[in-house]
């Protein structure tokens, strides 16, 4: 005990000392506040968006998606595909180096792909048809498949979920279930582990060794030029506090301004923008293992009872700030489909009541997880509950924070033993835009994603999608999948929303992208 006090006192004295001699804040420093805190620093282990955006600052990717959603080479200089579509040969571009100065080699790349291939859904799918992945020399590597696929480059350029960030082989040797401790990257910024204070701030400085591409920046492709010397990412849990800090110039960039707080933003000094036009899909899944949703008719009754407009309005207010969308793979995206979309969007309480009667529902409780600590989700579950109640369901809300929801959701038991019936979540549209990335449509039984629907037909169609040769064939398969998914009520989309980002008028060069990227941003003195 006494040792502890001594030690803590020593450490804090050292910290005070350090603060005393710290250099004054650089003028060319960008102070940003993100929507939620940065927890895990391993963007392969954790699929958190905050961790992903940390990844974009300090790592680079083999390919990048551009604003036209085309895959562009990023770390790769050139590549060839054999005529039978089985052999991909990639060559890395010149000048790639880790922050300690050592060059990036194909060994690093292969180790990174293998780690990612155990963790990411698309990566696992790709590895399942991979025959070999080998280095030809320090700059060239070869991927050989067992059967051709049209989505290899899309997988490598995957912008969200778990993007394929390239790490040094020492870091990539860490099991994917364990956090990395080596934070070297080859991206436009360098992470300062010694300045990192979890829950307070994290600091990045310009990576002087980074050689950008020559093309203009576009989403995750093109030149990633660091135009500020330092980025300080500050944690502010309360959105109102953050908006006030933005107005007063205490921070330069605020990832999310809740729509209700937009009237508070001082538009003479603050610019607001929907940088991420693609936005998010909010959706729910039901528990297929336990009553009442083990009954397909009851699930269909719930689908009929729900209506997107009211739920989205209760959460977001202004109709400008949300989108009604019944497409499983996102609206305005390549695999948007209107199969049953109308039924999914509109509420039909009468139909719901009829279906419930037909199903013989007799009041088994429906337990909905209500996530209370995420401001963009807090009104969703209560409104869903109200709609289900109006249709005759017996609904209980189980309030929890998001983190606990993730662990309680693993319970496959009945509601009387801590189990659940419905959970609400949201995914970025780039994470659900096709059947390979989308978790919500999966139906792989007890070993699969929470909800545990077991519909083998969906799995078969997803495999067909992986092997399909052209877009038209894939689109047809995606439409079919949507039909099956909605008929079985594997999941129900609730609507879409895009964040409004605010930044100081001193800041220039903020780029739109479906993740938060900080290259190309500069800050003027006045």
């Amino acid at each position: 005990m006494r040792y502890f006090n001594f030690r803590a006192a020593g450490l804090s004295a050292a910290l005070f000392g350090a603060a005393m001699f710290a250099p004054p804040a650089l003028a060319n420093e960008l102070r940003v506040v993100m929507e939620s805190r940065l927890g895990n620093l391993d963007p392969i282990m954790s699929a958190s968006h905050q961790t992903r955006d940390h990844g974009y600052l300090i790592y680079d990717t083999l390919f990048g998606l551009d604003a036209d959603q085309k895959v562009q080479p990023q770390m790769v200089d050139s590549y060839t595909v054999s005529d039978d579509g089985l052999v991909y040969t990639f060559t890395l571009r010149d000048g790639l180096a880790w922050t300690d100065g050592t060059p990036v080699t194909t060994e690093d790349v292969i180790a990174s792909i293998k780690r990612w291939g155990q963790r990411d859904r698309m990566g696992i799918a790709l590895m399942s048809i991979t025959d070999s992945l080998e280095a030809k020399d320090a700059k060239t590597f070869v991927l050989t498949l067992t059967s051709p696929s049209g989505v290899v480059l899309e997988a490598f350029a995957k912008p969200s979920g778990v993007p394929l960030f390239i790490m040094p082989k020492e870091a990539a040797a860490t099991p994917f279930t364990e956090q990395i401790t080596d934070y070297r990257g080859s991206g436009p910024f360098r992470f300062l582990p010694e300045a990192y204070e979890p829950g307070v701030k994290s600091v990045y400085v310009k990576n002087e060794a980074y050689v950008p591409r020559s093309e203009p920046p576009s989403w995750f492709a093109g030149a990633k030029i660091a135009k500020v010397d330092r980025i300080e990412r500050i944690e502010m849990p309360d959105p109102l506090t953050a908006v006030n800090a933005l107005n007063s110039g205490e921070i330069d960039y605020l990832q999310t301004i809740p729509p209700d707080l937009l009237p508070l933003v001082q538009t003479d000094v603050i610019k607001t923008d929907k940088l991420d036009q693609l936005g998010y899909q909010i959706s729910i899944r039901m528990n297929f293992l336990q009553p009442p949703f083990d009954n397909k008719l009851v699930r269909q009754a719930a689908l009929a009872a729900l209506g997107q407009e009211e739920i989205m309005q209760a959460q977001f207010g202004d109709p400008e700030s949300y989108q009604i969308c019944g497409a499983a793979f996102g609206c305005g995206l390549p695999y948007e489909s209107d199969v049953m979309a109308e039924e999914v969007v509109k509420p039909d309480p009468e139909k719901a009541k009829a279906l419930l009667k037909e199903a013989g529902y007799n009041g088994e409780p429906v337990v909905i997880f209500h996530v209370s600590d995420i401001s963009t989700m807090s009104a969703l579950a209560p409104t869903i509950a109200q709609q289900l109640r109006e249709a005759g369901f017996n609904v209980e809300l189980a309030t929890t924070d998001f983190m606990t929801m993730l662990s309680r959701r693993a319970n496959q038991g009945p509601t009387s033993e801590g189990g659940w019936s419905i959970f609400v979540t949201s995914w970025h549209n780039t994470e659900i835009e096709d059947p390979l990335r989308n978790y919500m449509i999966t139906a792989e039984g007890r070993e699969g994603y929470a909800g545990w629907a077991d519909v083998p037909e969906i799995g078969e169609k997803i495999h067909d999608f992986l092997l399909a040769s052209d877009y038209d064939a894939r689109k047809k398969i995606a439409d079919d999948i949507q039909g099956v998914v909605y008929d079985e009520v594997v999941f129900v989309p609730i609507g879409g929303f895009a964040r409004v980002t605010g930044y100081s008028s001193k800041v220039e060069g903020v780029l739109p992208a479906p993740a938060n990227i900080f290259w190309n941003i500069s800050k003027s003195e006045n």
Partner: protein, 289 residues
């Protein structure tokens, strides 16, 4: 939150120097508390609003004739929520206070009368009391999940050891009184000694302590809700209304101030009454001045 009752000082003696004529704060406090109790009981008749009904088209509106305190972020009527919130706060407060007293009384009697159990019990009580109460409550609720039961436990657990300490003190001092020693030597059954001689003497300090536990429980519930680890947000409680209003506080300060004023006045009344009770029950104070 604030453990007034722990401090070794004496009350300012609301009615000490010239009683009667200066009793007005206590009288006002009693009246207000009675008012809140009535609101808690007949609340549903005071408002036609449904504290749970979500009205998506009518969010965060300022006070109006239809919604006296405006509406919250889900379009629910804040006046109705504050009225129903009185019931929640009062129930949480009274149940927590009563349970702390009963539990504290039982354990305190045990510790005070049976020296064998005393050491162990008091070490455990010291242990619980050395964990700062709000920290213990936050950990308890967050870990066991937020519902009425766990919030009550989270308030009772840090609260009852103080009652144990109080009761034990009274019992220890009584044990050496001649009439108790006489009863023991006459082989009077233990339960009889406890109930006949001990229990009545603990009553006055318990009532005083109870009023402070009540005030503290209402404040703790609000603080827990404010930190996001209190009652489920669906349940209207003053703490929850404020917690949910936090984000919109600048647009609608009423979301914090309306429930906040009710909360502060209720706790103020309870504390004033508690002080008055303490002065009445503490004869030493009367003698001294």
């Amino acid at each position: 939150m604030q453990k007034v009752q722990d401090l070794p000082g004496k009350a300012p003696a609301a009615a000490r120097s010239r009683p009667r004529s200066r009793d007005w704060p206590v009288r006002v406090a009693c009246a207000f508390l009675v008012f809140i109790l009535i609101v808690a009981v007949v609340g549903p008749f005071l408002t036609s609003g449904d504290p749970l009904h979500i009205n998506a088209a009518n969010r965060i509106k300022p006070p109006s004739a239809e919604h006296l305190f405006g509406t919250d972020a889900m379009g629910r009527d804040v006046f109705a929520r504050v009225i129903y919130g009185a019931r929640t706060s009062i129930i949480v407060g009274f149940v927590a206070a009563l349970a702390s007293l009963l539990l504290g009384l039982a354990v305190g009697l045990l510790a005070g009368y049976f020296p064998l159990a005393d050491a162990t019990i008091m070490r455990v009580m010291d242990g619980i009391m050395s964990i700062p109460s709000i920290v213990l409550a936050v950990a308890l609720v967050a870990i066991t999940g937020a519902n009425l039961g766990t919030v009550l436990i989270a308030i009772i657990v840090p609260e009852f050891p103080r009652v144990v300490r109080l009761v034990r003190g009274v019992i220890l001092s009584l044990r050496s009184e001649p009439y108790v020693e006489a009863a023991i030597s006459l082989a009077t059954p233990t339960w009889r000694i406890l109930f006949r001689h001990m229990l009545p003497n603990t009553l006055a300090p318990l009532i005083v302590q109870g009023s402070f536990v009540l005030a503290s429980a209402i404040l703790t519930e609000a603080a827990l809700s404010f930190l996001g680890v209190g009652l489920p947000p669906e349940i209207p409680s003053w703490g929850n209304i404020m917690a949910e209003g936090r984000t919109y506080f600048q647009l609608r300060p009423g979301l914090i101030f309306f429930p906040g004023i009710f909360l502060a006045l209720t706790v103020l009344s309870i504390n004033l009454i508690g002080d008055a009770l303490r002065d009445r029950f503490d004869p030493k104070l009367e003698k001294r001045h």
